[in-house]
């Protein structure tokens, strides 16, 4: 893979962003995000707490309707940036690449979006270029292009759609599944547990998928589709490592069902999902085997307006069954070449309860847990188990479109604290060198702007 000099890349993106920002300042009546301009509604109409990505019921309708709802002509471009300072309870040893052992101030990411609809049937949301300030690299990011039509199904008004996307669950309209689930912003600076399921972003950006969906009577959601691996050259082109995790054997089917209704004066949703994949690790087909994963999950959410405030709860459970036969046969895992060296199961829970006050202040508590089968080949401690809780307080001063820089400039300032009860299998000495789970407890202060 070749590299463009970092200074050149950064100057290109920062130049574009600053140019846009300067013009916003001179045109306070108009700003982005592009969807706010398109729909004539402020951020709070589509996003809980007045800032993305948590969607209100109308935000879900807008997404499932293919981003086509239009009140005004719009410029289908937006940009955002997230910067943060992170302090871990103990210094990291070794320090993260390019960074200090602790107290790191970084640009987590800066992104340029193309987002909008064309006519009544085509629309899209494309996080076209993201600069990762920790990994110091450019790549494409979440892409979701849609074609939709309104129709009658079972006698009820419904939407039929197709989504072409590059990350399983990025197309989902609820905020329970990984792509848009809490935490809505995080950093690569502080350590996170090693064990994670395939659906947790492991193939985000390295696959392309097409699925069809039906949104029946604005209550029942049914989706089915499949993902495949683009060529090595294409992934190089968009800044994604083609060998991580590897190439799919055939296609990876994905399915999703959900029901949305009323409960207790709010909107609830219950759903299920499944993703199945066979991967040649590192695109190496020489073993004749693949690494196989089957993920299935259930989720639920509830969102209730309380005066000018709102209460939301999101919960998901995901089970993964895997057999890394190819990685074992290739000697990537384990000390022998036993194809059964890495059979495993994982069970992951994640919940988030959020109270948003006047679309300005948000308070979130989010417990998480991942547990699974013992395997000495996969985990240093033999166990994947980790758990903890994250708390977040955030302030969104201009979520109702009242920014002094115009109604489409928005910002969120927040503080997160992540507390680990168990990390990579143990509470104490999880790495055999005396590190405790609590050493990775992290305080993060972030600023997130979008326009």
């Amino acid at each position: 893979m070749t590299h463009i000099p970092m200074a050149t890349r950064w100057s290109l993106l920062s130049g574009a962003l600053l140019f846009g920002a300067a013009l916003i300042y001179h045109r306070p009546a108009e700003a982005v995000p592009a969807f706010a301009q398109q729909t004539g509604r402020n951020c709070a109409a589509c996003h809980v707490g007045g800032f993305g990505p948590e969607l209100t019921p109308f935000g879900r309708e807008f997404k499932l309707g293919g981003y086509t709802l239009r009140l005004h002509a719009s410029v289908p471009l937006s940009a955002m940036a997230v910067a943060s300072w992170t302090h871990t309870r103990k210094d990291q040893d070794p320090p993260p690449e390019h960074l200090n052992a602790n107290d790191n101030l970084v640009l987590d990411q800066a992104s340029l979006f193309v987002a909008g609809g064309i006519g009544d049937h085509l629309g899209g949301f494309a996080q076209l270029v993201t600069y990762d300030g920790v990994g110091r690299a450019f790549s494409w990011d979440n892409i979701d292009f849609r074609a939709v039509t309104d129709t009658k199904l079972f006698g009820a008004d419904s939407v039929l759609g197709l989504t072409l996307n590059n990350n399983p669950t990025v197309q989902d309209p609820w905020n329970t599944l990984p792509a848009w689930g809490f935490p809505f912003t995080d950093t690569a600076v502080s350590p996170t547990p090693d064990a994670a399921e395939l659906i947790d972003g492991a193939i985000a950006g390295s696959v392309v998928g097409l699925s069809g969906y039906a949104w029946i009577d604005h209550k029942v959601y049914v989706e089915g589709g499949a993902y495949s691996s683009p060529s090595r050259g294409f992934l190089d082109f968009v800044g994604v490592d083609p060998t991580d995790p590897g190439s799919l054997h055939g296609v990876a089917p994905y399915g999703r069902v959900a029901y949305q209704g009323n409960l207790g004066g709010g909107t609830f949703e219950v759903g299920a999902n499944v993703l199945k994949a066979a991967i040649f690790p590192g695109r190496d087909r020489s073993s004749g085997f693949t690494d196989r994963y089957t993920d299935w999950g259930i989720d639920g959410s509830w969102q209730k307006p309380i005066g000018k405030d709102s209460l939301t709860a999101n919960l998901r459970f995901e089970h993964e069954k895997g057999n890394l036969r190819a990685s074992c046969a290739l000697g990537l895992i384990g000390e022998d070449t036993d194809p059964g060296c890495a059979r495993f199961t994982l069970n992951e829970w994640r919940g988030a309860v959020r109270y948003a006050w006047h679309d300005k202040l948000g308070f979130t508590v989010s417990p998480f847990s991942i547990t699974g089968s013992h395997n000495d080949n996969l985990y240093e401690s033999g166990s994947p188990n980790s758990n903890g809780v994250m708390g977040q307080i955030d302030y969104t001063p201009w979520g109702t479109g009242n920014s002094p820089l115009g109604p489409r400039f928005n910002a969120r300032f927040g503080v997160q604290y992540t507390l680990y009860g168990k990390f990579n299998g143990r509470r104490h000495n999880f790495d055999g060198a005396g590190a405790n789970a609590a050493d990775n407890n992290a305080l993060r202060v972030f600023t997130w702007v979008a326009f």
């Binding site: 009140l71 410029v75 340029l112 082109f237 307006p305």
Partner: protein, 89 residues
Amino acid sequence: MSERREQVSRRDFLNIAAVGGGALFAAGFVSAAPAPAKKLSQKQAKYQPIPKSGQRCQSCALWQAPTACQVVDGQVSPAGWCILYQAKG
């Protein structure tokens, strides 16, 4: 040789995305006129004159008694519903 071609095309991608995108972004702001206050049509809002799942216009935060909506054009029934429904807290 192929390595060279890849380097140029990738650079092109990033240049077009960043600089071209930024220029379009800026041009949009320069050309954007102040948006007139207008409403969505009932078709756009997928309005129906009957409730859905117990949700009705009369209990919506956007409701304007006796028969109007802040964001949807035309006469609106208190018993109606549309995709912009937003429950009063």
